[in-house]
Symmetry: C2
Subunit: 222 residues, 2 copies
């Protein structure tokens, strides 16, 4: 079993531009990657990225880096092909923005008897995708990738399990996602960074969101 | 173990006003209640509501109805008190807008050894709350009820388990929640109603949402 985490630091987390500066977004993305690397401890790990990563808090990352200038789908499908050629076994693709996942989530997914395991994200996304035989699957991220991956599995006569987890479904993309990290995070790098930046859980008009120090409301829905 | 489902049909699902008419919202809320009643089959069930429910598709509901004019917290806390007085055992409070839950979710929660089990909703909500001893707990919904319920358990020296489920976390409140029901629903009343109304999954600019027949975009985020 290998875990591969695609990652792109350049202009990372652009949808958080309203609440984090460009530098903060880059650091926040790296902290979420750090959290994912931590829970992947014990697995063989590759970080698939277009550029070398330099960050104090990710000092042990370089030995995992695989450089690729390809787009997300092309890079991952090339990766799957190489894994298939070397008969390297299962591949688990884990998105880099899942700071709520824990070791037991990856262990449970790895133990599945199904040919393909999908942990869906909100809005039809695919947050974790585990493939027993990488020669028989190709990925198709963006849009409703959950449906696309079900279809690809069906076309290849592969059995599918859907992994039902709130933590695994919570990718941090939008400002309103930050409250989930504050509420349900377990002290990882990304949550600590938010706390250090002054983010707190706040309730206005019965709705929860986050505020940054100084009571500037940043993520309440209208 | 009793399951209690608080429900209010009047002005139900007001945040869906942009995509459903008032009549449709009432019917949709009833369909979601129907789906929850179906998965609660096998448990003793009470529907806590301020008014009698009349609906063709809920012909067997009346025997479960407990009328209460109190607010959500007051009605549920009065209910817990009565259950405690009659030593009726565990109480599981299940919100009425969880059309993705299945029987196995309720069974797993019911089997927990913890004094309190919380299935969190998005944004700090509490979607399912199971209480072993109703004499030692009171509810506090609205706002970040997840944190409030953790605190109440702590104050009463009760052990807590957080039930990690994407399905149980998905309460249908906002237009963007509808896509989860279309994608992950299993043919229940609420999903069928959406399909009958012409809702389909659609992708614009790489983001998934729902459209209603005629290609009128109704739930894509900006």
């Amino acid at each position: 079993m290998r875990i591969v985490v695609p990652f792109k630091k350049e202009n990372a987390k652009s949808r958080l531009a309203g609440v984090l500066t460009p530098d903060e977004r880059g650091s926040f993305a790296m902290c979420m990657l750090r959290d994912v690397i931590d829970v992947a401890d014990g697995f063989d790990l590759d970080i698939l990225t277009p550029s070398l990563l330099t960050d104090d808090c990710i000092d042990d990352i370089h030995r995992h880096v695989l450089l690729s200038d390809l787009g997300l789908n092309e890079a991952l499908n090339e990766y799957l092909l190489k894994q298939a050629e070397c008969n390297c076994g299962h591949v688990m693709i884990v998105m880099a923005d899942l700071p709520l996942i824990r070791k037991y989530h990856l262990a449970e997914i790895a133990c599945s008897d199904s040919d393909v395991v999908i942990a869906p994200g909100k809005g039809g996304g695919t947050n974790i995708l585990c493939i027993r035989d990488p020669s028989r699957f190709r990925v198709d991220y963006y849009g409703t990738s959950f449906l696309d991956h079900l279809q690809i599995a069906h076309e290849n006569d592969l059995t599918v399990a859907v992994y039902d987890s709130f933590a695994a479904s919570t990718d941090i993309d939008e400002p309103e996602d930050l409250v989930e990290l504050l509420l349900h995070g377990h002290g990882g790098s990304a949550r600590n960074m938010l706390v250090d930046l002054g983010f707190v859980v706040a309730v206005r008009n019965g709705r929860s969101g986050v505020e940054r120090s100084g009571d500037r409301v940043v993520s309440h829905k209208p």
